[in-house]
Symmetry: C2
Subunit: 466 residues, 2 copies
């Protein structure tokens, strides 16, 4: 209980924390049996809450009771092994525990001086990832580049857009700058371009496998140059949201260099797969690009938020972001041994997010993480084979990783009936999508605990709707 | 341990979580006795870590052992009651526990449909805060405005700058837009303006108490209009970082309205104090502004990240941020009962951050939180009185809240000696600052557990250096 002057006795924490741990462990054990989509209408949960905050303190038992009464009935099954919607937003035991330690330490890692461990552990763990994922060695902190954990891929891509715009605006009016990406890239690129102030945004045509066509990019650039506009940014995607298509990095990089554009690569989901060398053929050419993002919070068992952003050269990043007022000066900032991460991101404050990534990498080991990725990819290939063997169904894109995209050959309505069958089962959940008015089903396999039995269950729903 | 296919047995989590809780509870009990500034040189912690990630899984015991061996020696005392540096970056037992539950639920609250509870609880709790802090009623979700939790005040202010720029760029070249703030505002305003693409930024003169001079703002606007530039944004600060000065909102609002500028208010630290009605005189005029930010993660006992951003009218925000691709469409989005928070922020993904705020507000109750704020302010006033009674020392600004700014009358070197005495004591920690080449000491009182004894200890260090 809260005592005089708002202070809490230390043993209160220990008692409450053990009670919460037991509640959470019970919840995790039963959560696979909870509905994936909660049975609540918009506004229903609000109605269970009082209209104003309490004047007097409540006990921790009351807070815990409302977890069952209000919170659990409003949760979606992101951590359910039957979750095949969007991309995964993963968690794992070591990540979850690290989040608690992070909260206890209450570090603010804006500068080395405000948290040496948050800074140095992030530097080390992001260097580890360069080797683990086969990324260019120059992206290590000992090279000209380096990495920083951001909140989301949207933030990382927005940051790349801002740096490209800042570099280009030195010699050009902002209103004339153009950003390019494929018509299949994530909405965060268009949104990031708008937020960064780009008035001109081009969605470039894709080929039959939904990868950007370099010749279409060249044609768009030529047309824009003709109109007096200035190409400033291009984004390649390794693993699009729609179908995990992979843009050809090398030819796009050649165009970007020739045109003086910033070349950013969005590998938000698929980047984690590169821990398995057999997938690295899809990231060939990364040594030619300017910036890169992938999200361990999608497929590397690390809780949101954990988006890893690398730059090949940190100078333009710092020229855009570095501002040092008197209360933020520190002696360590001039050391070449460490960095001040405030100069690597838009916000000033930052959580100690390296801890969870460190714990995940160690608790699973590289071999454990590879086995998780390979399990998901094998499940995807198995599902794709079943779909190809079923005359009524067709894949709409190659299942290169663990995302399987398919539709009913009879068209959109028959496809919708399959979605309805899957999502009303309560055991599996998918998100429908569309390309050129053709609706299809995305089965995004990647939840930490998804195994063969969950694919079997999903397949039963699909087969039952044919 | 990690088993076949990278899976972890459920009872592993329970066992490890109880072990971690005991470690954390022990850590919290002893943490007040740990050095506030860790005794490590830049690069020393990195050197304790291996150069590459492990191939094989490690046990949770090994991870825990490294908390003592590597992590604790690199932590700064943000949660130490002798922490008087920067502004506080608080934590509290209910907030810490909520972070663990948040991690366990693994929700991704980008839309109502992806997490009804993360969405509706945030709507409710931010409505609660409107009443608790005496903010304009129109900022509730039932009004034209509304609120959303962002990562940091930098993000919130950057967002306000982006919306103002987006609105203005419809009829003006971006390169001609101007952003204004006081010379004492936080560096995040200048950085946010640069990130948002403003090429023109003006730091407006302040008065003797470091508040923006409205007539200086008017003169700057007139000069810019004369040069053909377009005033688009002005930020007022309620509680500056340097001295908790408060800008006069009402006259600045009148200028902003006349000039068609977006008026943003940064109350990052001091906003939490408004839970006590006696401080609301310093936020008079908020009903005239366009957006507002304050950080519960500074002074409302809630862990970073928790920055609360309100707008008076959500329409321009959505016009700037809303982009809806097929895989993000949902039926609920058209309901007027709920919102899709992706349209309230730059990133798409978002953590379930309302839970910790909900738990803090309930566990302490409004009266508990008021008593914490009033305790800190009383401690600040007590320290200010001691300084005023000491002939060698002088306050450099009124101590209106809990920040006390003072210097040695003999000048910068004597002031530096006091800083050195405080910070080398190991028991208290302050950050020095300067205004117009005059160095001074900021004593920022606001850590959750700071009490009279910690101010006495600090005073001993100060008095010993005179």
């Amino acid at each position: 209980m809260v005592g005089k002057n708002g202070l809490v006795r230390p043993d209160e924490f220990r008692k409450n924390a053990h009670a919460l741990v037991d509640w959470i462990a019970d919840y995790l054990e039963r959560s696979a049996d909870l509905p994936i989509v909660p049975a609540v209408a918009p506004g229903e949960l609000k109605a269970r809450l009082p209209a104003s905050a309490p004047e007097a303190p409540e006990s921790f038992d009351e807070l815990m009771a409302d977890l069952d009464r209000i919170v659990v009935p409003g949760l979606t099954g992101w951590q359910n092994p039957g979750w095949f919607a969007y991309f995964p937003g993963n968690s794992s035991p070591p990540s979850l525990l690290a989040e608690m330690a992070t909260a206890a330490f209450g570090q603010q890692g804006m500068m080395w001086a405000t948290s040496p461990i948050a800074t140095e552990l992030e530097m080390v763990v992001l260097d580890w990832l360069v080797d683990l994922l086969g990324l260019p060695q120059g992206w290590k902190m000992s090279g000209p580049g380096g990495g920083a954990i951001q909140v989301s891929a949207s933030d990382s891509s927005h940051l790349a857009l801002v740096v490209s715009r800042h570099r280009a605006q030195a010699t050009n009016p902002i209103d004339q700058l153009v950003a390019y990406t494929s018509a299949q890239s994530h909405s965060s690129i268009e949104k990031g371009a708008r937020v960064a102030g780009f008035k001109h945004f081009r969605a470039i045509d894709v080929d039959d496998e939904f990868a950007m066509r370099p010749e279409a990019l060249e044609a768009a650039i030529a047309a824009d140059r003709e109109s007096g506009l200035i190409p400033a940014f291009v984004c390649s995607t390794v693993g699009t949201t729609g179908t995990t298509a992979t843009d050809p990095i090398e030819p796009i990089a050649a165009i970007a260099r020739r045109e003086g554009m910033w070349h950013h690569v969005d590998a938000a989901f698929v980047g984690s797969a590169m821990i398995c060398p057999e997938f690295r053929v899809h990231q060939q050419g990364l040594e030619l690009v300017d910036s890169y993002v992938f999200n361990p919070h999608k497929w590397l068992l690390t809780n949101f938020d954990c988006s890893v952003f690398y730059v090949a050269d940190r100078q333009p990043l710092h020229e855009t972001l570095s501002i040092v007022p008197p209360y933020l000066r520190s002696a360590a900032a001039t050391s070449s041994e460490v960095v001040d991460y405030r100069d690597w991101q838009v916000p000033l404050g930052r959580r100690f997010r390296a801890l969870k990534l460190w714990w995940v990498l160690r608790y699973y080991g590289a071999e454990g993480l590879r086995s998780v990725i390979r399990r998901h990819v094998a499940l995807g290939h198995d599902l794709a084979a079943r779909i190809e063997a079923e005359p009524d169904l067709e894949l709409v894109a190659p299942a290169r990783f663990s995302l399987v995209c398919f539709r009913h050959r009879a068209g959109n309505e028959a496809t919708d009936r399959i979605v309805e069958a899957i999502n009303s089962s309560g055991a599996s959940y998918v998100t429908p999508s569309l390309i050129d008015e053709r609706r299809f089903i995305r089965v995004s396999i990647g939840q930490t605990y998804t195994e063969a039995e969950h694919i079997d269950r999903l397949w039963k729903s699909i087969a039952g709707a044919l």
